[in-house]
Symmetry: C2
Subunit: 502 residues, 2 copies
């Protein structure tokens, strides 16, 4: 892949003068139109060989454009906090919102390549990380992010010559770091591994551009022109297909709708006596309290997801859990419609933000599953969007699990009759009044649509690493005990597993 970048392209001074001025104006203009347009974020990845001009290019782009709308981030080895999160977590933190440009110097490629070249990380692990990157980038592009992937290359000879030249002059010798001296020893292997990484991640939607870094004028014009093309492409692309609210099919038009499904098949008749409930509650809360303080918890985190129809009892169940926990241990995240900042990002972004470090827990009251539930049913995203979400969510949870998270997902299932009883109770009871709105009644009319969405969600996202627990919740007492019991069981199992190291 590096053939074209080793033929010594140069650009004359005159050409540089004319072209750099033209490019600079065009880039600035495009940057402002991007900001105005506010439909796409642009992420520039800057990677390559030492001394091939990566840093200089980052500086130049900031100089050519308005740096107030550019966020530049450099990534070195992971910090202790970053190591307690999934690998991609630190990149999610710095994704630019729509309209903005992010420059990532040493991106999600640096560590997989370095680990394979230098730390002897196995080839299988390397390939797995590349596959993860590919899925991540595909998702970003589908979510409207424009990816500009720049690889600055130097031939072995050019890299060595450059180093010698710098070292020969006391005024520049400091620029050659011990790290770089070591890197050049591994040049061949680095290039071989990088070639494979580039090849396996040059997807159609986000190909790599390899740039010969030996001539500063050439590489700057090349990178700038490529970025300009990407910006123009982003500005010209058509709007995404809008979603359409789902509707109930006419009777018999779609067979299968209304068939006895997974939710209807639950046993809603199970009840618990108050006395039994209280004994069990005490026992299980004690068990949970102990587990949360278990030393093994320091290498794990806990991610709890609660979903269910309106009035299924999510809030009150969560309270029975938090009663057992130290307030410093957990955080409850109620999820409603995304706010403006959140809408300017890929849909998973707001959930990545709350991923707990080791030794911590997060309880989601509704979650990323909104994508395949409310957003699907109400047509808040297109059918392509929610269709691809199942895979994206599985991949997301796999990353969490790999980094040591124990994921426990509950669907609190109630019957339509029980929901009606609770709605009426809420209307009749002054202190529960605030809990019932017009929207709840509207959602209720779409019960069969939600039922279908829930069943497909469970079919496609109930996995060994993060299974769905469907808990019949017409009786709140039985439901709470069942949730606590499952939670203790799953946490106990999860703490025995060893997280994957990068």
């Amino acid at each position: 892949m590096f053939e074209s970048a080793e033929i010594g392209q140069r650009v004359s001074k005159k050409h540089w003068k004319e072209e750099s001025l033209r490019l600079r104006h065009a880039l600035l203009d495009a940057q402002y139109r991007l900001l105005q347009d506010a439909r796409s974020a642009v992420v520039i990845l800057v990677n390559g060989v030492d001394g091939a001009g990566r840093g200089e290019t980052v500086n130049l782009l900031n100089e050519w454009m308005d740096p107030r709308h550019i966020r530049t981030e450099a990534f070195g080895p992971m910090t202790a906090l970053e190591r307690q999160h999934p690998e991609m977590w630190r990149f999610w933190q710095v994704l630019p919102p729509k309209g903005r440009i992010g420059i990532l110097f040493g991106s999600w490629y640096s560590d997989p390549i370095r680990a394979h070249v230098r730390k002897g990380q196995k080839r299988e692990r390397f390939l797995h990380r590349l596959e993860r990157i590919r899925q991540f980038e595909r998702m970003l592009v589908a979510e409207g992010v424009v990816l500009v992937k720049l690889w600055f290359h130097l031939s072995k000879k050019a890299a060595k010559d450059r180093m010698k030249l710098l070292e020969s002059d006391p005024k520049t010798a400091w620029r050659v770091t011990p790290q770089q001296r070591e890197n050049i020893q591994h040049y061949d292997r680095f290039v071989r591994v990088s070639e494979e990484a580039l090849r396996k991640t040059s997807i159609g939607e986000a190909p790599w551009l390899v740039i010969n870094g030996s001539d500063p004028a050439y590489r700057s014009l090349k990178a700038g022109q490529y970025l300009l093309d990407a910006l123009n492409h982003a500005l010209q692309r058509p709007d995404p297909v809008p979603g359409v609210p789902e509707t109930l099919p006419a009777t018999h038009a779609v067979w299968g709708m209304g068939e006895r499904g997974l939710l209807a098949a639950q046993d809603y008749g199970r009840r618990l006596k108050r006395k039994v409930y209280e004994d069990e509650l005490e026992r299980l809360q004690g068990c949970l309290a102990l587990l949360s303080r278990d030393p093994r918890m320091l290498k794990h985190s806990l991610v709890l997801v609660f979903e269910g129809m309106d009035a299924a009892g999510k809030g009150s169940t969560i309270r029975r859990i938090t009663q057992a926990l130290d307030a410093r241990f957990y955080r409850v995240v109620p999820v409603a419609a995304p706010n403006e900042n959140e809408r300017a990002q890929p849909y998973l972004w707001r959930f990545w933000r709350y991923i707990p470090a080791h030794g911590k827990a997060v309880i989601f009251d509704r979650s990323w599953y909104g994508r395949v539930l409310v957003e699907r049913v109400e047509g808040l995203c297109s059918s392509q969007d929610w269709m691809r979400a199942y895979g994206e969510i599985n991949e997301y949870e796999e990353q969490l699990a790999e980094s040591g998270a124990v994921i426990v997902k509950f669907w609190l299932a109630i019957t339509p009759e029980e929901q009606l009883r609770r709605f009426k109770d809420r209307e009749a009871t002054p202190h529960k009044n605030y809990k019932i709105t017009e929207e709840d009644w509207r959602n209720r009319e779409k019960w069969p649509l939600y039922e279908r969405a829930v069943e497909q969600m469970v079919d496609r996202t109930s996995t060994r690493i993060a299974p769905w627990h469907i808990v019949a919740s017409d009786d709140k007492l039985w439901s709470r005990i069942e949730v606590l019991r499952l939670l203790c069981e799953r946490l106990e199992q999860g703490l025995d597993k060893t997280p994957v190291k990068n």
Copy 2:
């Protein structure tokens, strides 16, 4: 993923009678519209647990629809011939053309799952094969194939009960094979592995449908309805975006066009004296002859690709190679515009057909690279199509290499001046007249566009396993010797590698 398929769905006799009739009519109607429409092929994958009704469903679909337009294929363990080809080869052979339906009973999923469950194949290899499948299916969908992935499930208890029932009656006992008796022992592991396979391959464009197989009426209606939805979806989808011929940018509009690139950087001045040429030719042809008869060749195949501008000397170079070979060893495949059958298939299909078995060679005079050369430049496919082709081609060549193919790719590079000289010579020489057409002159005008396409092709598809060799060919003698030399060198290296076993 199997929760919904274990709740014992049933369908009443009356419902079955009404619905199956309705479904049958609708399917037949949709099948004929698909044939008329002729824009999409439909591929139905039938997989699942023993005894869950896979075979019965295949028979039923053939009964419900017109079997003349359905091709049903069952796949067992690989034959000796299939083992000499890449794993996916046998599936490529049976892909239905546009307008038709293919039913694959035991598809590309069976062997990876079986190998992992029963033959102790490593998890890394299993994951790699799943990733390959994902890429393959993504490509099929992008090429207009509608994938219907059906998984027929039975709970462990249901599977055991069914087996006992069959065994208890002498009239049905024969239906339980020793293989099935063995399989039930591995039920838990089979289901665990299958769940992972389904989860990792439920991509948005082609999700799995898991069907409870215990009630024949239920599973038939469910599968039929799903197929009907898929057919209707295929019929309603909009036409793909058409391609647009590339045009030369106005001067300076795109910087980089016309810069001194990889092709211009070659040394076209190298010449060989006739006497040296003849000696070298004899020596290298002898070397090639020996290599082609090497015993190691029985575990390898040879795939040669020749590309180059018109009149670059592809034909005459190929003749110098075949002179050294036994006629039973090789096949030369000249590639022109696809014919009607080929246009009804994904673009790589016609190249998969010629993949040689072990101990054989195929020489492509032009190749799958037409996708990113002529099809790109002339707008015969959309820019999304050729953009994704780089990755698809790399993946294709990786599969070839894994199965033991040695891939050697040559770009015969000539200067525009030399081409002009050869064109004029062809016009002036009566026996070369047939070689020059109006189209050659038209292509020549697009030289800079082809040059850019070639350079991007080399950048993106020159890989360690299948590098491009750019050979300056203004002097035919020098070029032929260089090609032979490189070919011997690469073949010698390639024969030392061990193909990957599935």
